[in-house]
């Protein structure tokens, strides 16, 4: 895909983990925006559909030096090795039921085409994909709050965060009707972003230098010089991505002043972190 015009977006997110309070608003906003079902027992987190899941991190130290933090994990909308759109999940889906939108950077999921092989779930190291083990059922009357913008999924298919793609469509339609070529930054914001009471989530177009997300992340236009698979690495030393070394190239970035949190973002061999922690995030131009 060549950039033929400046309309090619790369939507992404940066989440400030110092601001995140772990309150759960993003999770519930996501569930209610996207018609996510619920069942009697949701305490087994291995079969609980949460497109946005908030992990609790701990620094592993003992009392009173323990520290904890929260890490919200939506779908990472990986661009895959080299950023060519071969996300771990998209590249393995046998039925083209999940696709990488080269014009948006959004990894979609086509529920009516998915036949439930779950290969994508195995491919995703973030556990961002969820399977409908059960028929979605709402208590009598509660289906009244379901939104028509997102179709409820049937049993036996995989679902995941869509970056509220329906909101993008609505914004694009609105812009089109108003004779504009493109949407404004605030016209397309995900449900988790707008719900976050701490303002910890910043969402926008990583390709657009006017967008706040771009200004915080400062994505590197060149591939990482130490790992050619890694593109779009942040040049902000306080910003990191989850499992960046795998070359999945997520579009969710995290921001934290706390070093122990940044270290949790990836796996490091003994001594590796100490070598890179100071210029982590600025490797290409370090």
């Amino acid at each position: 895909m060549k950039q033929e015009n400046n309309k090619e977006h790369k939507f992404g997110m940066v989440i400030d983990l110092d601001k995140c309070t772990g309150c759960g608003s993003c999770m519930v906003s996501c569930m209610s925006e996207n018609n996510v079902p619920f069942k009697e027992d949701e305490s087994n987190k291995k079969d609980s559909i949460t497109w946005m899941r908030v992990y609790k991190l701990t620094n592993g130290k003992s009392f009173p030096d323990t520290e904890t933090a929260y890490l919200p994990r939506p779908c990472m909308h990986c661009a895959g090795k080299g950023g060519h759109g071969h996300s771990p999940c998209v590249s393995v889906c046998p039925a083209t039921a999940t696709e990488y939108g080269h014009d948006t950077g959004i990894v979609s999921q086509i529920y009516t085409r998915c036949f439930g092989c779950r290969y994508c779930m195995g491919a995703c190291p973030y556990h961002a994909r969820y399977f409908n083990w059960w028929d979605p059922k709402w208590p009598e009357g509660m289906e009244n709050y379901l939104s028509p913008n997102v179709s409820p999924r049937m049993r036996g298919v995989v679902e995941k965060c869509s970056f509220c793609y329906h909101r993008y469509q609505a914004a694009r339609d609105k812009a089109y009707h108003e004779g504009r070529n493109d949407i404004e930054e605030n016209e397309f914001q995900t449900a988790c972003t707008t719900a976050c009471p701490a303002g910890a989530i910043v969402f926008g177009d990583l390709n657009n230098p006017a967008h706040k997300v771009h200004q915080i992340v400062k994505p590197d236009p060149h591939p990482d010089k130490w790992n050619r698979h890694v593109v779009g690495k942040s040049r902000n030393p306080k910003v990191f991505r989850l499992l960046e070394r795998l070359g999945t190239n997520p579009k969710i970035y995290y921001l934290s002043e706390r070093e122990w949190i940044r270290r949790k973002g990836d796996n490091y061999l003994d001594g590796e972190w100490d070598k890179i922690k100071n210029h982590h995030g600025s490797s290409s131009h370090g």
Binding site: N44, K46, D47, Y55, L57, L71, K81, H86, P88, S91, V92, C93, P94, A95, T96, A97, R113, C114, F115, G116, C117, R118, Y119, M121, G122, A123, C124, P125, Y126, H127, R129, Y130, F131, N132, W133, W134, D135, M154, R155, G156, V157, V158, L242, L243, R245, L246, G247, T248, R263, K264, G265, D266, N267, Y268, L269, D270, E272
Partner: protein
């Protein structure tokens, strides 16, 4: 009672005895069918799979039966392409075992997917970049090849053979079987390999991920090679079991030893490659992603280094060596032990490449996920075993599966053979 159907000159147990056996195994089969029905009716919530274990017991069973079913394509390749004539004495049985394995694999896949009625989307909306698409295409096509290879044997049934068209069809199919075998080998190479690729391409899962050649990770080649290497072990093991149950010698030792010897060399070469692959992965690939090998084998209740040692040394190197050395290979007990170890080894390899992949945490704050299958999963996994036993019993009883049977079990003083 059914003597008209039994091959000429072959001695079979009485029909009631046969029927009782079939009914007993059939009960197990029905249990599996019941579980299968439950899963189709109520959905995959009947299993203990979850979002961490999207691939579980079934996918392992699938990979394992396809691996051990690899005896069919490899024996076919040796028999028809490399013209190793002795193997004609076991090729029928290898084909039947392959047929059972592959039909089971397809059935398991039909149970495993969340939307069985849409299963054909894998063909219709095929994503050619997915290893699973390659698996589906080659698997189905190869199953068709196996069916074609199986048909002549069916048509050789005493009654069917009386129909001239069938007799001619069987004859003609034999005539160009090499073409089918070649196609089968081609397809098998790709689907066995792509099954290996299924795990190897997971660059988000450092435990499974392997570098490779062009688009194919090393596991692609390792899986193909290992299926070819261990498949004959399974064919020979099932032959031995059939011989024990029927109380007859069905295949001559020279045939068994020949196939065992080839298998032995294949296993040994495979294990050397596997060791190299493991060392490269453990010292180069995984560390480059931030993982020490210890990460994959510690801090959990099940997956330890024992599994690596068992798979590669005990169930890989040991059977390989037993089968390449003439003295040990020709010792029936040691040979049998080698077959059993080999089959365990290949199944263990497939287990590791499916379930351990799912179990290992990747994010630094994630945890190991362990899983135990539900009875429905176990029942549906046993189902193919029952089905296989029934199919082998029926084919053995009614079809001339073993060309050497009559010679080895002459009722009267032997008539002239050859």
């Amino acid at each position: 009672m059914d003597s008209a159907l039994i091959p000429e000159g072959a001695k079979r147990c009485s029909f009631p005895k046969f029927a009782i056996g079939i009914v007993i195994v059939g009960a197990v089969l029905l249990w599996g069918v019941f579980a299968m029905g439950l899963i189709w009716w109520k959905g995959l919530n009947q299993t203990n799979m979850n979002d961490y274990y999207g691939f579980a017991l079934w996918i392992w069973a699938d990979l394992a039966v396809i691996a051990v079913g690899g005896g069919a394509f490899f024996t076919g390749l040796l028999r028809y392409i490399f013209n190793i004539d002795e193997l004609k004495n076991i090729i029928n049985f290898a084909v039947i075992i392959g047929f059972i394995c592959y039909s089971s694999a397809l059935l398991i896949l039909a149970i495993d997917i969340g939307q069985p009625l849409r299963g054909w989307f894998i063909f219709w909306h095929a994503n050619v970049h997915s290893m699973l698409t390659e698996v589906a295409f080659c698997l189905s096509a190869y199953f068709a090849v196996l069916t074609i290879e199986f048909i002549p044997n069916i048509l050789e049934n005493r009654q069917a053979n009386k129909v001239p068209f069938f007799r001619h069809l069987a004859h003609n199919m034999h005539g160009i079987m090499a073409v089918f075998a070649a196609t089968g080998a081609f397809l098998s190479f790709f689907h066995q390999g792509s099954l290996g690729g299924v795990a190897g391409v997971l660059f988000g899962r450092p435990f499974a991920y392997r570098e490779g050649l062009l688009i194919w990770p090393w596991t692609f080649f390792l899986f193909t090679w290992s299926a070819a290497a261990f498949g004959p072990c399974f064919t020979l093991l099932i032959t031995k079991i059939t011989e024990t149950i029927t109380g007859k010698k069905l295949v001559k030792d020279n045939v068994v030893n020949l196939l065992a010897k080839i298998s032995g060399w294949m296993i040994t070469i495979y294990i050397i490659a596997k060791i190299i692959d493991t060392i490269y992965w453990a010292t180069v690939t995984a560390p480059s992603l931030g993982f020490n090998i210890s990460h994959f084998y510690t801090n959990n209740g099940f997956y330890g280094y024992w599994i690596l040692i068992t798979e590669i040394l005990v169930c890989g190197l040991v059977p390989g060596i037993i089968l390449i050395m003439k003295s040990t290979r020709e010792n029936p007990t040691l040979r049998l032990i080698a077959f059993i170890l080999g089959v365990i080894g290949i199944c263990l390899n497939r287990w590791v490449m499916v379930l351990q992949v799912m179990a290992v945490p990747v994010m630094s704050f994630d945890t190991w996920a362990l899983y135990f299958p539900s009875w429905q999963e176990i029942a549906t996994t046993i189902l193919p075993v029952a089905y296989g036993i029934i199919l082998i019993s029926v084919t053995y009883r009614y079809l001339p599966v073993f060309p050497q049977e009559a010679e080895l079990n002459a009722v009267e003083p032997a008539a002239e053979t050859e």
